[in-house]
């Protein structure tokens, strides 16, 4: 049995700081996806919502809130949360329903209205919660982890702060003409290097902002898709893997790694296993990818992903970047959308937005940022506490 599902429609609400409710952003993205698919809301059989955590009940328990806003239709509902990997969880639920024959066409929606500044845990004294504990007892924020990974690249591989800044320069060029990007302005190496240091060796412009935004997909069975369109973009794989014990790399929000004592290390690390799981499922490899959308919470993290999704061996990411391989026009452009550097993070929308970009690229509709002849693409992302997220799309 084919594991393909069709991406019939995609839609986004532009990223920014709009000061409105996440619900309206989600509805706009959903309506755009429905229009793009040529499917009526009343025909949607499942609504899969990605929850934000910043609005009381997880995004008012997102799936039903979006369904109500679009007008109660009796559709089945699902709501998912997986931190930054929330969107992949929602996509996975919709895809599984379709592949199991439980529905033919589903609407996936993620939307957020993000606060300014550092993300922080909710209130109360909760020492048993690793997220609360790391803030309280050591003052460790999310950029702390980005800084640790970046410094490790410098000390082990000889990366420089200029290399990191160059990722921002590249992505700012990519996002220049993306109508959904929040930041559409060229950034120079000097701009990055002269911005304030937040988590050494990373400057403010190395670290992504937090944004409002929304993304939506209409997914369907291949049979349903053939009645609506020819040659739709397909989702060939969705990886939602967890780590294998022991995970020996320090991960947000933990204060400590698993122990390597007495237990052998797994064959590949957690971050490497995320896209690996998607490649295995799709029967494709990194060499088959025309482009990648990776989770550049920081510029240096984008370089880590090059290696973790198999675009190059460990330690070669800076060379790949410097050679222009990951720029539009290069061998395998990374973040042609502009990435989080141009968008800022709208948590539950982000993994869905990555699939929107792959879809536009694979249809040849990515105006001003098109990867010529794109045939297949991979997304990768990771959610707090051990949520893998990777999607492979093909045409």
């Amino acid at each position: 049995m084919s594991k393909d599902v069709a991406v019939l429609g995609v839609g986004m609400h532009p990223w920014g700081k709009w000061g409105q409710s996440f619900v309206g952003y989600g509805v706009k993205a959903a309506q755009d996806a429905l229009n793009d698919a040529g499917v009526q809301w009343k025909d949607i059989q499942l609504v899969a919502g990605g929850d934000t955590i910043r609005n009381g009940y997880p995004g008012y328990v997102a799936g039903a809130t979006f369904a109500q806003a679009l007008g109660w239709s009796g559709a089945k509902v699902s709501s998912s949360y997986g931190a930054c990997a929330t969107g992949a969880q929602a996509i996975s639920v919709a895809r599984a329903h379709i592949l199991a024959g439980l529905c033919e066409v589903a609407l996936v929606i993620g939307a957020d209205a993000a606060p300014k500044g550092f993300f922080a845990p909710t209130g109360g004294r909760r020492p048993e919660d690793p997220d609360w504990l790391r803030f309280h007892i050591q003052g460790i924020t999310n950029p702390t982890y980005f800084g640790l990974y970046a410094r490790r690249r410098m000390d082990v591989y000889g990366a420089t702060q200029q290399d990191f800044a160059q990722v921002k320069v590249k992505n700012s060029k990519h996002g220049l003409h993306n109508p959904n990007a929040r930041y559409r302005k060229e950034v120079t190496l000097e701009d990055v290097m002269s911005s304030v240091l937040v988590a050494d060796p990373l400057h403010l412009l190395d670290i992504c902002a937090t944004s409002d935004g929304a993304a939506a997909l209409v997914l369907s069975s291949m049979d349903f898709a053939r009645k609506h369109t020819t040659d739709p973009v397909k989702i060939a794989a969705v990886s939602t893997v967890t780590p294998v014990y022991p995970n020996s790399i320090i991960e947000m929000p933990n204060l400590a790694t698993d122990s390597k004592a007495g237990v052998g290390l797994p064959e590949i690390g957690f971050k490497e296993s995320i896209a690996h799981g998607a490649y295995e499922e799709a029967g494709l490899g990194p060499e088959d990818m025309s482009l990648a959308e990776v989770y550049d919470l920081s510029t240096a993290l984008e370089l880590d992903w090059y290696e973790q999704i198999g675009l190059c061996p460990p330690g070669d990411a800076e060379k790949l970047l410097r050679d222009g391989d990951t720029s539009i026009g290069g061998r395998v452009p990374v973040n042609p959308s502009g990435g989080l550097g141009c968008f800022g993070e709208a948590v539950p929308a982000q993994a869905i937005a990555q699939v929107c970009e792959l879809t536009w690229q694979l249809r040849g509709q990515a105006e001003g940022r098109q990867v010529e002849g794109a045939k297949a693409g991979v997304t990768v992302n990771q959610g707090l506490f051990g949520h893998g997220s990777s999607v492979i799309c093909t045409v």
Partner: protein, 149 residues
């Protein structure tokens, strides 16, 4: 007003020995894997069915895996000193336990003084205080001898 007494900012994570403090973890008696913070209910090694743990003080020294800085005041529930003073943070790998543990770097020592692989030791530092207590946490500090690791 009586003198303030010293207390850990969170109970059960470390000893309050001012000279040679230790982080407190657990070790699975069956498979030998360690946990910090302590795990006492179930063993997270999927190949191990035991739930028999001994509480163990972890090694006081290790080597830097990586390091960074906090140049801006972290939000609550961190209790920052006013005015806020930036600090460095190190991830330190304990060889025997095979665990990497994060902590602030002590005494205003900045990232310029740190290097991957550098030997570090555990110390206690004041984190914040209230009317009755001075609360402590652990910090990492470059070892004075620099040769014990």
């Amino acid at each position: 007003m009586p003198d303030k007494t010293n207390a850990p900012a969170v109970e059960g994570l470390f000893t309050m020995d001012p000279r040679e403090p230790r982080l407190l973890g657990t070790r699975c008696r069956a498979c030998g894997t360690y946990f910090f913070p302590a795990e006492k209910t179930f063993c997270r090694n999927p190949a191990c069915d035991e739930a028999d743990f001994e509480e163990v003080p972890l090694s006081r020294t290790g080597k830097v895996w990586s390091y960074t800085s906090a140049s801006y005041k972290p939000p609550a529930p961190f209790v920052a000193k006013e005015p806020f003073e930036p600090f460095a943070i190190a991830a330190v790998e304990l060889e025997e336990e095979g665990i990497t543990i994060l902590g602030q770097v002590a005494d205003g020592i900045g990232v310029d003084a740190l290097k991957t692989g550098m030997p570090m030791e555990l110390v206690l530092r004041e984190l914040y205080e209230d009317d009755e207590h001075i609360y402590f946490t652990w910090n990492w500090k470059p070892t004075s001898g620099g040769s014990d690791a």
